[in-house]
């Protein structure tokens, strides 16, 4: 997997913005960094919101993401998710 530090800042910020809005955690936006753990760490992220998140990322970046691709490590950290999105964009 791509290391989260290699993700461009622009993509990271946009992914973060989508995550924050979809999970309704605007109040925590300032504290989120690439190493912030998502999966298992935010009660807001569940089987329903993950679908919303995928839909929102598809729309925002015009990319094709299958539900099946979002397993395990992709959602471990915010940086990891951004790296995944970046790999889809390029």
């Amino acid at each position: 997997m791509t290391s989260s530090t290699e993700v461009s800042a622009a993509i990271f910020d946009e992914v973060k913005a989508v995550v924050v809005v979809t999970l309704d955690i605007e109040d925590q936006a300032g504290d989120l960094g690439p190493e912030t753990e998502l999966y298992g760490n935010f009660a807001e992220l569940d089987s329903l919101t993950v679908v919303k998140l995928i839909v929102a990322l598809r729309k925002r970046f015009g990319i094709d993401i299958e539900l099946r691709e979002i397993v395990g490590e992709v959602l471990y950290t915010l940086g990891g998710l951004a790296a995944f999105v970046e790999s889809k964009v390029s």
Binding site: T36, G40, A43, S47, L48, V50, G72, L75, Y76
Partner: protein
């Protein structure tokens, strides 16, 4: 982890009272505290894998060591015997170490379901006066407002870097690693406790009223571990996938039944059913326990051969598995034994069906698990005969110590068993489950329904499960819940709530038409309500109470509470 210790079991530095040295624990064969299960397995096979979380695996020796270190750290922090420590985390190695370390230090652990919202967490912390909370930095951030006025809390221990000190907070925030992972010679002295001491409080997700804290002793947990691992035939060769929340009796049992025999427990949180399939394949899982909504999802997944190959058993608890789902799972895992189980938190675990009986009695919850006695009682307290429905009563060493700080509800559920010999002068408490069951001539038990969920319509008593089973058999619905709603003419009006199997072109009338062919008229739902998804309890079970509440919400509150008897 680093440690400067050359011996795994150093002399305790606290002196002044006699105790058995720690390294004899396990060899004596007496299991007193929950962590003794781990100590014994560490003694027998220190290098065997105990626990995996994501990419990390630790051995039994390491788990034992980390438990001892955490216990010593918690004692140094000032956690007194019997004080409560809550853990609000997803499933990680630290989560398990926190539970075990608290226990080893003589504290009472309270696993909090990681999906709960801050207000519900606060309720639990207040209800049992939690002194130490273990959580993550992000979770603490979301809890901060609620915790600001939490009186009992002295410490919050966080994984990762503690956030900047909050001057107004009435508790101190420390890094978990500073407290529980210091390499030192400090060892937690034995607590001198007995196995009937309080070990844990599990909050049940009651759909009516606030959650209740079920108080479990070390004995409850140890007997449960031995009993369940015996009938599941767990061995040190097993690799158990722990998918259920650890705040749930069956969830905690995933750990204890593994540790009891030195099996390898793989911790799993999942967002999508595909995650579970992947974890089974990656870890060559041999056994797992699930609840019906999860099994319904998993039955619809594609299982690659490597995820199926090692599977020795699959077990269901927390509600009846629809027959079509059971059939699909048996086809998916042809070599695995299906275990149908029943348990209530108040008695940890209660019954299971011998897998060899599943073909003959796919609807049965089986018989009592080892070291439990299950009685079926009439309302007047006398025993029911075969074929006669009555309340399931569980007696034996699995019976919990009641509800925390709730004498009234404890007195309702925890009462003397019906068959207590008159000559015995001490009281015994059994759990009166509130579940209606019937026993057949051969002693097999069948779940009829929650006493509160039973539908009384046109003078008949109808089990919601009976209607739901037929709804599943139509193949048109994904999930189904039958409810009896108050009705002046009928007593109850039958309402079936479904999620469509195929949302496009779903016609509720088609379901009714099929039900009409199979069910007597009084059981046919007056109404079929279609929902996109079903409400779930935090433990992943279908939430009947929520649906009932939603469907009757138009009526005034005092009216509803009076109808729930």
């Amino acid at each position: 982890m680093t440690t400067s210790r050359t011996r795994p079991f150093a002399e305790p530095r606290v002196s002044g009272h006699a105790f058995t040295p720690d390294d004899e624990k396990g060899t004596s064969g007496v299991l007193i505290q929950l962590p003794d299960l781990v100590a014994r397995s560490a003694q027998r096979s220190p290098g065997a894998p105990a626990l995996t979380s994501r990419r990390t695996t630790i051995t039994y020796a390491e788990l034992h060591e980390r438990t001892e270190l955490a216990a010593a750290g918690l004692r140094d922090l000032g956690l007194e015997g019997g004080e409560r420590l809550a853990v609000f985390l997803d499933k990680r190695i630290e989560t398990v170490v926190a539970l075990l370390g608290c226990s080893r230090a003589g504290g009472v652990f309270v696993p909090v379901n990681p999906v709960l919202r801050p207000r519900q967490v606060r309720h639990i912390l207040d209800d049992c006066a939690v002194r130490v909370l273990v959580t993550s930095t992000e979770r603490l951030r979301s809890l901060r407002t609620e915790l600001a006025t939490c009186k009992s809390l002295s410490y919050v221990l966080v994984l990762g870097d503690p956030p900047a000190e909050d001057q107004d907070a009435p508790y101190r925030v420390l890094a978990w690693s500073e407290v529980a992972e210091r390499a030192s010679d400090a060892v937690c002295p034995p607590t001198g406790g007995v196995d009937t001491d309080v070990a844990a409080i599990l909050y049940t997700s009651g759909s009516t009223g606030a959650p209740k804290g079920v108080v479990l002793s070390h004995r409850n947990l140890i007997v449960g571990a031995e009993s369940v691992s015996a009938y599941l035939e767990n061995t040190s060769e097993d690799r158990i996938l722990a998918v259920l929340p650890l705040s749930f009796d069956a969830g905690l049992s995933q750990l204890t039944t593994g540790f009891c025999v030195g099996a390898h427990v793989v911790l799993a949180d999942y967002l999508l059913p595909g995650d579970v399939v992947r974890l089974c394949a990656e870890n060559h899982i041999t056994g797992m326990v699930g609840v019906p909504p999860l099994w319904i999802q998993l039955a619809a997944e594609t299982w690659p051969p490597e995820a199926v190959a090692g599977m020795r058993y699959f077990a269901n608890t927390g509600g009846r598995l629809p027959r079509v789902t059971l059939q699909r799972l048996r086809a998916t895992f042809p070599a695995a034994a299906p275990y149908l189980m029943y348990g209530l938190t108040e008695a940890f675990r209660s019954t299971y069906l011998d897998p060899r009986e599943v073909d003959r009695r796919p609807d049965s919850i089986g018989k009592a698990i080892p070291n439990a006695e299950i009685l079926v009682a009439r309302e007047d307290g006398s025993l029911c005969g075969p074929g006669e429905p009555g309340e399931l009563v569980h007696r034996g060493p699995l019976v919990a110590l009641g509800y925390w700080n709730d004498a009234e509800r404890t007195a309702q559920r925890f009462r003397p068993p019906p068959n207590r010999p008159v000559g015995l002068c001490t009281p015994e408490l059994a759990v009166w489950s509130g579940d209606v069951v019937v026993r057949d001539e051969e002693g097999f038990l069948f779940f009829v329904g929650r006493r509160d969920d039973m539908i009384k319509t046109s003078g008949y008593r109808v089990s919601p499960q009976e209607i739901e089973e037929v709804a599943y058999e139509t193949g048109l619905v994904h999930e189904a819940v039958a409810l009896g709603l108050e009705d002046e003419a009928l007593g109850h009006r039958v309402v079936l709530v479904v999620t469509p199997g195929n949302p496009a072109g779903f016609d509720p009338a088609a379901v009714t038409a099929r039900l009409r062919q199979v069910l007597p008229r009084y059981m046919v739902p007056a109404e079929v309500i279609v929902r996109a998804d079903m409400p779930r309890s935090p433990n992943g079970k279908l939430d009947r109470g929520f649906l009932r509440h939603e469907l009757t919400a138009a009526r005034p509150l005092h009216d509803r509470s009076g109808a729930a008897t």
